[in-house]
């Protein structure tokens, strides 16, 4: 009961970050500059990409902020859930992970082939043995279509492949992860192999690209 009251109070006091709701063309270029809600969520996404989970979460914390526009709220939800999945000791049965998964599953209903949603939800599914296969299938499909949205997707895929005993395929995913990531440590995994020994899976740093000959 006390929890409900506290939740009600916190929701009632949540800051409404609003933007005008009329449909606009080409507005993205302008909203990123001019709209507080857009700027706030964009900053949260930037912090998330940099691995600054706590600061990213603070920008979209659902008890503090609710965004008037459904699209902006959707992006905030994705950030909030992803933070939960990427925490160092994230547990599948923790309420942030379960809540994040529920949130993203709801978002998927209207946007079933959104690679960002699919990759992020797979990060969540990968945390639990009973949903890991589903996560791998989703990530394999994104990889096959070459629409993996970021390095974390390949990192998760590498981990899942490694657990399934597909070492070569796991290293291939890690190579793609390293090519994409600004932070190379994202793509180094401490893993338990199927035989039970702990290994550090990493690839060689990608070689610097070489200049090609002038085309004629």
């Amino acid at each position: 009961m006390l929890c409900r009251i506290l939740l009600s109070i916190s929701l009632a006091s949540a800051t409404m970050v609003s933007a005008s709701a009329d449909s606009r063309a080409c507005g993205n270029a302008m909203y990123v500059d001019g709209d507080d809600a857009v700027k706030q969520v964009a900053e949260a996404e930037r912090l998330l990409a940099l691995g600054k989970l706590q600061r990213a979460e603070e920008k979209v914390e659902p008890h503090t902020y609710r965004f008037e526009d459904a699209g902006i709220q959707k992006r905030a939800n994705i950030v909030w859930a992803t933070v939960a999945f990427r925490r160092e000791r994230a547990k599948a049965d923790s309420w942030p992970v379960k809540g994040g998964l529920r949130q993203l599953e709801a978002e998927l209903e209207g946007d079933a082939d959104n690679p960002v949603l699919l990759a992020r939800i797979s990060e969540g599914y990968a945390l639990a043995p009973d949903t890991a296969a589903r996560a791998r299938a989703t990530l394999e499909d994104l990889a096959a279509r070459d629409v993996m949205p970021d390095a974390y997707g390949y990192r998760t895929l590498a981990r899942l492949r490694f657990h399934d005993g597909d070492q070569d395929a796991a290293l291939a995913a890690l190579t793609l992860c390293k090519n994409m990531s600004k932070r190379k440590k994202v793509c180094t995994l401490n893993l338990k192999s199927p035989s039970g020994t702990t290994e550090t899976a990493q690839t060689k740093a990608p070689s610097q690209p070489r200049a090609t000959r002038q085309r004629h």
Binding site: R24, A29, P149, P206
Partner: protein
């Protein structure tokens, strides 16, 4: 009301043609057949054509009589102008920042009176295979997903009747050339390989005004907008109804009240000579700069921030942006528009760019997939645009749609980023 205005326009055209003395160079206008008139005036076909005009969103760039009003935030030209003149509702600092980034779509030709002067088949062809006829305008007519019959229907809507009934005499070309020089037509207009005096892309109204002021012939100096809109006169012989050209040169405002073409108060024989020069004088196509070789992928690391800043943010994301960040409309290249289906391509963030676009099967596919020649589709679309401006228009649409091609350096940057594994 709309039909009434077309009737009035048609009546004026017919009256104008009939009231002129018929000289030996004028062929009596062929009477429009009853069937053609009936077809043009048939309200159902006009309503269908208007529906096409609205489907292809002509009124997002042009002023179009009869079409539904487009909100400012969806009207490319009006929005840009309001940002530039400071009347758009935003902080002054933001307006200043955005204004500095606006280089195109500040003006587009009005379609309101085109039926009084342009040829229907030219309008149809321009819809299907757009040519850049206005050298000073950065944007040109984009190649929309129109079928031949849709283009036919729209062109008939805009040009219900034609006055293609005048022939010009080669004997008048010399006199016309003198008048062309005397009235300084070349200050604003290119003529084939002869560029407008300010030069391609150079649109200083001061220069043009100075050029014309010395003549004392024009009632008004051309504005910057007039210079931007001035078409290359090489196209006139294909574009104009021959029967309308002399009237246009004598009194442009009589055919199009809001035209920016100055009225030089030419006498009819002067206008006829000038028209003969424009219509018949030998003219050569302007040469396009050679493309040269494509640039090799770069040796240094090219990360997302650089590609985004110099290419995607600079050029692409106005049409390919995020519907979640723009209240449901991510631009025509994302949520659809100008007759194009929603493809969901969003180049406003790293994750979105890597998420591909929606194919005909409803699923997302990479825009970096390689074609048969090993060229990523995104790069191919940029190369196709280079071909389009050279007149080679194939099934694939070049990007940026309706804008000048990317520079070779921009293509090199994207190609390098892709070759390096799309580093963040």
């Amino acid at each position: 009301m709309r039909f009434a205005s077309w009737y009035v326009a048609g009546a004026l055209v017919i009256l104008g043609a009939c009231s002129k003395p018929v000289d030996d160079q004028t062929v009596a206008p062929a009477p429009a057949s009853a069937d053609t008139l009936a077809e043009n005036q048939h309200s159902e076909s006009r309503a269908q054509a208007l529906a096409l005009v609205e489907h292809f969103e002509c009124a997002r760039c042009h002023e179009v009589s009869g079409a539904a009003e487009v909100a400012t935030d969806k009207h490319c030209v009006r929005c840009h102008r309001q940002v530039q003149d400071g009347s758009y509702a935003a902080e002054p600092a933001l307006l200043a920042k955005w204004s500095a980034n606006i280089h195109s779509l500040q003006i587009a030709p009005s379609l309101a009176a085109m039926g009084r002067k342009l040829r229907r088949d030219w309008v149809r062809d321009q819809l299907l295979q757009p040519r850049d006829i206005r050298p000073a305008l950065q944007a040109n007519m984009p190649r929309l997903p129109l079928s031949a019959s849709e283009a036919e229907s729209i062109s008939a809507y805009f040009v219900p009747q034609e006055r293609d009934n005048r022939r010009f005499s080669e004997d008048s070309i010399g006199r016309g050339a003198e008048l062309f020089a005397r009235y300084r037509c070349g200050v604003c207009h290119a003529f084939g390989d002869k560029p407008a005096l300010p030069g391609p892309g150079y649109t200083s109204p001061e220069v043009a005004a100075t050029g014309l002021a010395t003549t004392g012939l024009a009632t008004t100096a051309p504005t910057r907008d007039a210079l931007l809109l001035a078409p290359d006169l090489m196209h006139t012989r294909h574009r104009f109804q021959s029967g309308a050209l002399v009237d246009w040169l004598m009194d442009p405002q009589s055919l199009q009240p809001d035209t920016l073409m100055p009225n030089f108060h030419l006498k009819e024989n002067e206008a006829a000579s000038l028209a003969a020069y424009i219509w018949l004088a030998p003219v050569r196509e302007p040469s396009l700069p050679t493309l040269g070789d494509r640039l090799p992928v770069l040796d240094r690391v090219v990360a997302w921030d650089e590609v985004f800043t110099k290419v995607f943010k600079k050029v692409c994301w106005h049409c390919h942006s995020s519907k979640e960040f723009a209240m449901g409309d991510g631009g025509p290249g994302n949520t659809g528009g100008f007759g194009f289906a929603a493809r969901g391509l969003d180049l406003s963030s790293y994750e979105a760019a890597l998420s591909g676009s929606i194919g005909d099967d409803g699923r997302r596919h990479s825009v970096f997939a390689k074609d048969q020649e090993g060229v990523p589709l995104l790069i191919r679309s940029m190369l196709v645009r280079e071909e389009e401006v050279r007149g080679h228009q194939g099934p694939m649409r070049g990007m940026p749609l309706g804008f000048p091609p990317m520079s070779r350096e921009q293509i090199q940057l994207v190609e390098s980023w892709l070759a390096q594994g799309r580093p963040r």
